[in-house]
């Protein structure tokens, strides 16, 4: 069996958030690129959990190889990290020249890679923590006519059947489908493993295989983006918060209850019987 995990390199969303909230996020002259070099680039955390799900399958006795694939101009660091976690194969798909790649182009490239090289199971994160779109897995599944099962906290394979425990707003749902399939993984899968020193050292010497779009059987028109990012900005929030002040926790609590009764959010009752 072959498992392909699609991974994306992103700007650290916590660092972006910290700069955004403090009003110090820098956006380039093109009005859309986040330019601060102090923001680390790392593997999308959900994709790291997808790798973890693949490795747990292998650790659990599934006879599978694990390939990590990423689309991007320079994904070496991210793919080396994938290797250090224990995947067998790392592949970088270079973006088509002169094209601003959107989710549709990324999905077309990943789908072509899976079609050409084969996969029984395609795993990826539920969404990327930069654009948060979460559409690439569904687009890949549709392009390959594979079933798509999203937001997994657990993934099990038994023969040609994959069983997925999904995290839904109403609690866990268990769904199953036949391989080949696309499954997206959520943070509820649990902490991904850390690479050990030996694997880290080994990963430094690994050079990902580079695949050009022309090496892949992308259908006609598949490399034409349907969306172009025009602008990016930090949204303004209108604050009208009254900060309550009093000299003790008890007085603060009483003051808050007063306010909530005065504005009729709460109703005062008869008090303690």
């Amino acid at each position: 069996m072959r498992t392909v995990v699609c991974v994306k390199e992103v700007l650290d969303p916590d660092a972006v958030g910290a700069y955004a909230v403090s009003g110090h996020l820098e956006i380039g002259d093109d009005a859309k690129t986040l330019t601060q070099t102090t923001i680390p680039r790392l593997m999308n955390a959900y994709d790291e959990q997808a790798i973890e799900a693949a490795l747990r399958l292998r650790d659990g006795g599934a006879d599978t190889t694990v390939c990590a694939v990423s689309v991007g101009a320079d994904t070496t660091a991210t793919l080396r990290h994938a290797f250090s976690l224990g995947v067998d194969e790392v592949v970088a798909i270079s973006p088509p020249a002169g094209v601003e790649v959107d989710c549709h182009v990324v999905a077309a490239l990943l789908a072509a890679f899976v079609r050409d090289r084969g996969a029984d199971l395609v795993l990826t994160g539920r969404q990327a923590s930069d654009d948060d779109q979460g559409v690439v897995p569904a687009l890949v599944g549709e392009a390959l006519a594979m079933p798509v099962v999203t937001i997994a906290r657990a993934v099990d394979v038994d023969g040609t059947k994959v069983t997925v425990t999904r995290v839904t707003p109403d609690g866990d749902e268990v769904a199953e489908t036949e391989l080949p399939a696309v499954v997206t993984v959520s943070s509820e899968l649990g902490e991904p493993r850390y690479p050990n020193v030996k694997m880290k050292m080994a990963a430094r010497k690994v050079t990902p295989e580079v695949v050009a779009p022309s090496d892949l059987s992308v259908p006609d028109g598949g490399l034409q983006p349907l969306l172009r990012l025009e602008r990016q900005w930090v949204p303004a929030v209108a604050g009208e918060c009254e900060i309550l002040e009093a000299d003790s926790a008890a007085a603060l609590a009483d003051l808050l209850i007063d306010r909530l009764v005065d504005d009729k959010t709460l109703q005062a009752g008869g008090g303690r019987p």
Binding site: V16, D102, H104, I151, E188, L227, C241, L244, A253
Partner: protein, 328 residues
């Protein structure tokens, strides 16, 4: 005439969110000189005809039947794609829910359209053509996407992004048609072997929610949140990190990846206010924030704030609420 704007409701969205998508649809249709068609999948909600008239919808198309009514994703995707074949539009708008987030990109792939999730606005009719604004980085930034000219776009509208408003003036009665989409050949590829259990009261319907976050410092202290919620006749909510940490199960999670709530009172205790959480509680009529960090983002969304340790404040709130017998 330009192809219409199609708004699709699946019954998984709150009525307010269905109205928000109709409000957005009306704006886009007006800007591009076209109409709104409302596609209702599954059982049509009570009063849909009034809602349609209020929003100036030109036509209501209702499609139900086996698979659609159960909300099977494979069937819903096929149903919308088949609908689009007979009645194509320029924009297809869903209210974003757990379910529509899955089906929207698949529909886009089938009909050759672009797709944008977490959308907060759509503009049409300008020189730039169709443009979609969306939240990125968990809501910390906004992005604007331009859709390639001549390409249709599927969007899922983020909850609470748009205030639902009725159309001006009186609109004519919309044409209502019950569709019989042929879905006999649709393969259902995914079997649900154990459904999510959603018995008991739902956070989405709660009038009062007291929610806790990492500021509670330990799983045991979540009991304070539960106790205050019970005293006020409400329910207990949680931020994502403490659900991830296993302090409480995900049915309590409020936010973009959890529940979208609309209580009269929402108390956020020890929650910093990550945008992904705030999306799930900003529709509260009154939001109270308790946090040790005066710069915490949650205060930007709150009506009342207490800068302090929720572990000191919550027991006092429980005492004060009990002494005075306050309720909703």
């Amino acid at each position: 005439m330009t192809a219409p704007v199609i708004v699709c409701s699946t019954g998984t969205e709150a009525p307010e969110e269905a109205e928000a998508t109709l409000t957005l649809g009306r704006k886009v249709a007006a800007a591009s000189g076209t109409d709104v068609r409302w596609l209702l999948l599954g059982a049509a909600p009570d009063g849909y005809a009034d809602v349609a008239r209020r929003h100036g919808v030109a036509a209501v198309d209702i499609a139900g039947g086996d698979g659609i009514d159960e909300g099977d994703a494979d069937v819903l995707v096929a149903a919308v794609a088949r609908y689009w074949e007979r009645s194509p539009g320029q924009v297809l708008v869903f209210a974003q829910t757990f379910s529509t987030r899955d089906i929207a990109p698949r529909v886009a792939a089938r009909i050759g359209a672009a797709v944008v999730t977490n959308a907060v606005d759509v503009d049409a009719g300008g020189d730039a053509g169709l443009e979609v604004s969306a939240a990125a980085f968990g809501g910390d930034t906004r992005v604007l996407y331009a859709v390639t000219p001549g390409v249709a776009c599927v969007v899922t509208l983020q909850p609470n992004a748009i205030e639902p408003t009725a159309a001006d003036g009186t609109a004519p009665e919309p044409a209502v048609e019950k569709l019989d989409l042929d879905l006999s050949g649709v393969v259902r590829g995914v079997r649900v072997v154990e459904a999510a259990r959603s018995d008991g009261p739902r956070l989405e319907d709660a009038d009062v929610i007291v929610a806790g976050g990492r500021g509670l410092k330990s799983a045991e202290n979540y009991q304070l949140v539960v106790e205050l919620a019970a005293l006020l006749g409400g329910m207990a909510g949680a931020s994502r990190p403490i659900v991830d940490d296993g302090w409480i199960d995900s049915a309590h999670q409020v936010g973009l990846t959890g529940k979208i709530t609309r209580p009269a009172l929402y108390v956020a205790a020890g929650i910093s206010g990550a945008t992904q959480h705030v999306v799930g509680c900003t529709a509260a009529k009154t939001l109270v924030a308790i946090n040790t960090d005066a710069d915490a983002s949650i205060f930007r969304h709150a009506r009342y704030g207490i800068v302090g340790d929720c572990l000191e404040i919550l027991p006092e709130l429980i005492r004060s609420a009990r002494d005075r017998g306050v309720r909703r």
